[in-house]
Symmetry: C5
């Protein structure tokens, strides 16, 4: 099928809007060193950590830090920070490092990203409408029109751009890429093909809506994969079912490359002492 000239000239980049700045920190707990401390010193350190982590346990104006106990050797603890910007993420990292507890945590991984909502479904429509009005891509007027569209989406989607971390028992975090192989290359697919595939993909996710909540963050240019995915559920087997089902979907089967998977159990700030 030959694309009509207007379609062929559309910019290839799908529209998206951005929200919270996100840092995942995976940490090993230096247990032998910890156990060498006196009970009194440990109590004092726990008391301080409980205080600090309680203060950011619930989202306040888009600022929140959730703590998870990771399963397996990739780390003992995962701290998930949502903040207004990167400077606040830096402060959050530094604040954690400076706690007494910080001396007993050694980083094993991290991930830096920004909450992102892609709007594939309306991108071609918006671009097409602008072109039919005679606007050329990347002109000042084009940019203003696009910015206006994005602003409307930012307002409508604000709760999902600045989300509270779902209060589920389990989290599953992993980074991912779209494949750029020598013959199968996502970034060489047309906007409409990508839109079609993302739509089918989204349909699977929606079938799990009652069981899993998902937060997607973009990290192209920020970290070593293109996206970070956080899934939240009370039954961790659902992570397996959802991701396995998606793996048969064209966009994942052919184009998804996955980084390491991290599964953790939520820990209330007040219970942090219970897992040390």
């Amino acid at each position: 099928m030959t694309p009509d000239p207007v379609t062929a000239a559309l910019p290839p980049v799908p529209l998206s809007v951005e929200g919270a700045s996100v840092m995942h920190q995976m940490m090993r707990f230096r247990r032998p060193e910890w156990r060498a401390l006196s009970t009194m010193v440990r109590s004092e350190i726990v008391r301080e950590a409980v205080g600090a982590l309680t203060a950011t346990e619930h989202a306040v104006e888009g600022r929140q830090t959730a703590v998870y106990s990771l399963l397996g050797h990739k780390g003992d603890l995962m701290f998930v920070h949502f903040r207004r910007n990167f400077e606040e993420l830096q402060s959050a990292e530094l604040h954690l490092a400076r706690l007494g507890l910080g001396d007993y945590l050694a980083p094993t991984g991290s991930y830096l990203s920004i909450v992102e909502l892609g709007i594939y479904e309306s991108t071609a429509k918006v671009y097409g409408a602008l072109m039919e009005r005679g606007l050329q891509p990347y002109t000042e007027q084009w940019k203003q029109e696009i910015e206006g569209t994005l602003d409307r989406h930012r307002q409508a989607m604000a709760p999902r751009l600045w989300p509270e971390i779902p209060a589920t028992k389990y989290v599953c975090f992993y980074p991912m890429d779209r494949r750029r192989g020598e013959t199968k290359n996502w970034y060489e697919e047309s906007l409409s093909e990508r839109q079609r595939m993302m739509e089918k993909h989204g349909a699977i996710g929606r079938r799990y809506a009652g069981e899993v909540r998902q937060i997607i963050s973009g990290s192209t240019g920020l970290d070593d994969w293109e996206w970070g995915v956080d899934l939240f559920a009370n039954d961790p087997a659902v992570f397996k079912r959802l991701i396995y089902e998606m793996r048969f979907d064209e966009v994942s089967a052919v184009y998804a490359l996955f980084g390491p998977f991290h599964v953790g159990v939520r820990v209330a700030a007040s219970d942090i002492g219970g897992i040390l």
Copy 2:
């Protein structure tokens, strides 16, 4: 061969049922630090460890931890935990870490998964029967029918879903993926093609039934490979023969990607002191 329309519309995901939550922990033993302890302290630590590991050495309501002495540098000990759910796995990890012995163990690897039995052979039949009755995939009624089918399998297969760890002298554990290459992609194969290949694959395994026992666990979305495989045998050369023979089988030759292999010798909880 053009698939008939009904076949083409079948969901691509094979049916499967799930059982025990599984954690493999590979640990290095910090021998120099251990040897620096007094005999008395070491005896006390061993005594505590023997007590704790004896308590979970045999399966009680699906809870069990087996200990293996690993061969080679990937770790000195491997703990294989089977539990009812992930929260119990977290407790098992924490319990082990808090033993006196925990200070002399450093993690070198781990694997998180859920015992899984695929039922490829009847998947197409079940899907086809439902569609012939006019049910549409993913509708409420479809889901209920599927759930009913799975429940019958869960009951019939309960002993294999919640297995006791076989009491063989040797274990072989490795994770694996199905290949998603640019031209050879398991997840793009049709359900019937996959079913055909899995059937041939299963036939090889059955020829080794008297010599090897196998427990498959699924880990898509939980850990970095899609499946974990545990083989149990009294003659470790059988691991080599079985896996080598399978490597010529289409599903392995073309579609299997293997992670690191771990071979260990079972250690009775009461003998743990003998390998330290």
Copy 3:
């Protein structure tokens, strides 16, 4: 399209000019060891570090060292040294290592490169003109003519070859390669094809000119990737938008391979104590 004989005989290497020698050093801060020091000793070490880093904070005759606080586990600090040559880079490394602070920094990464400006757009023109004058590639006269051309570019581009590190709040550094795949191989593309693709690529960058400044350095034969890219911006989300948009561009979509991404917040030399 058959290339005409003159074009076919052109040397394949695009012209470029070189400037500052560059070293990126990523460092972990050994915080527990640091916190074990007395306040007095720490003050003394900070005082010395502030002095040393202040002296090179601003570019003096092409010599400058900027300090960034990195986000995530790839390091706590990144030192970016611009110098006149490699010997000065070695001195800069040694000078930093010998500060009192040096004992509390452990290297986690580094990158060695030379600021480079490619002049794809005029390469074919220059080569063609020389050949039309009857000069043969690589003869003494050819080399003198080329050297003369490069000298004119070196003078015209001096401010970009010996740049001051932009005073933006954020930096994004990553290394990259051009793909040499079995079917898609940048180094097998013709000079004119590469020129065409680089031109389109540059156009995207120019649309971000007001928001991002970029310094490209070449590292073929010096470090493990072919180029290092530094982006400087006051809004880090721009890193994501720019690099994501570029990913759809042919030269990136098909031919770019990316190493690890590092994002940091600029730290004034006088504030170094504030992030320790």
Copy 4:
């Protein structure tokens, strides 16, 4: 060439027989810690190690441990254990770890395998003969006939299945795989094609018979590569010449993937003190 129906039905797995269980252990020597010991303590540790290593220096009923001083950073020492079974390998590892010297050795690698002699040349003949007698693959009678054939080979090849470690000055150890690429896949080649290629490959090895001795061990299902190769020679340049010449041979050029290479100098047990 269409294979005739009998050939097509032959099992794809070549016959092979197995012998000694093999463990390679690569170790770093913790020299600074060692040098901190008093001369007296070091003498005592060396004395004990010499005694233990002398006891297994020469093959006794298939049990032997050879010591090599490795060149380069992959380790300082390599212990090569040949034993009757895996349980004895585990004991050998534990025995070494429990020597006083064990506290000054840190593992950097290892390899687990079983000496294996492939009998490609007669496999098709044996299979064909059985099928012409009307036996079906994998039936009890088939298995008995095969087992009988293997037993005859095991007896005839016993000295090579339970070899003494050649007393050459140098060893070269590396693991390897047969490629399973998307288009070039060893395990999809027919038995006769593989036999043909292995024959040509063997011919090269035979030309080096006077200069190099070779022990192949299989490790599919036991360690991370499919085979381990030990070469023994008095002139290490022969390792280079042999393996380079083989690299042009079809089976290596197309189908061989190589792991890390380790080259070591044999150390007499009585001289172990001389390299510490």
Copy 5:
């Protein structure tokens, strides 16, 4: 072009001659531990190191050790040992490790190889002449003739086979492979094709003869890559220009795979204290 029968029957391996045994050792300097020593102890250690390194600083009968200060985190020092054989390399390693300085050096890498000069240009001619005389490859007479040819080359090329390490200010060391891809495979190319490509490749090197000196060593079967390349120059930018220009050459563009690059500044033995 169909090869004539004689050409087709030529052995595929190019002739080459070998010289010095080479070990590169990359070392991290344990600076914090070093700085904890008293000035007097440090002086004594430096004095001893200067003495030992001075003794081998200049080539004596093919024995030499050069010291470089590496740029970046891959190591602080690189020792390049040229010796008569591997046993002498082992001694050189051990000698260095046993210096007082040895306790403050930790290995970060190494490379083992043998200086090698390929003689592609005359290989086909020699092979062809022998075959025209009716000699069959690999017969005793064939081998004697080849050995005679190689001996003549060994004598003529002795200064390049047993080279003195060039006294340039900078070194660039990297290992490399020839690609064995599924479609592009160096080892499947004909001898004459490889000869043609190597000739073009050599022509580029010769254009840099005045600026760079190069020592190639072979490491197939000795270390993890097939060749080691040392470049020596007084202007390190030349490393970049030479290797970048070569990357467009067919043999590099298509068939070269590169390992890590190491760039160092030569340190006189007497100045070793100046970089600690």
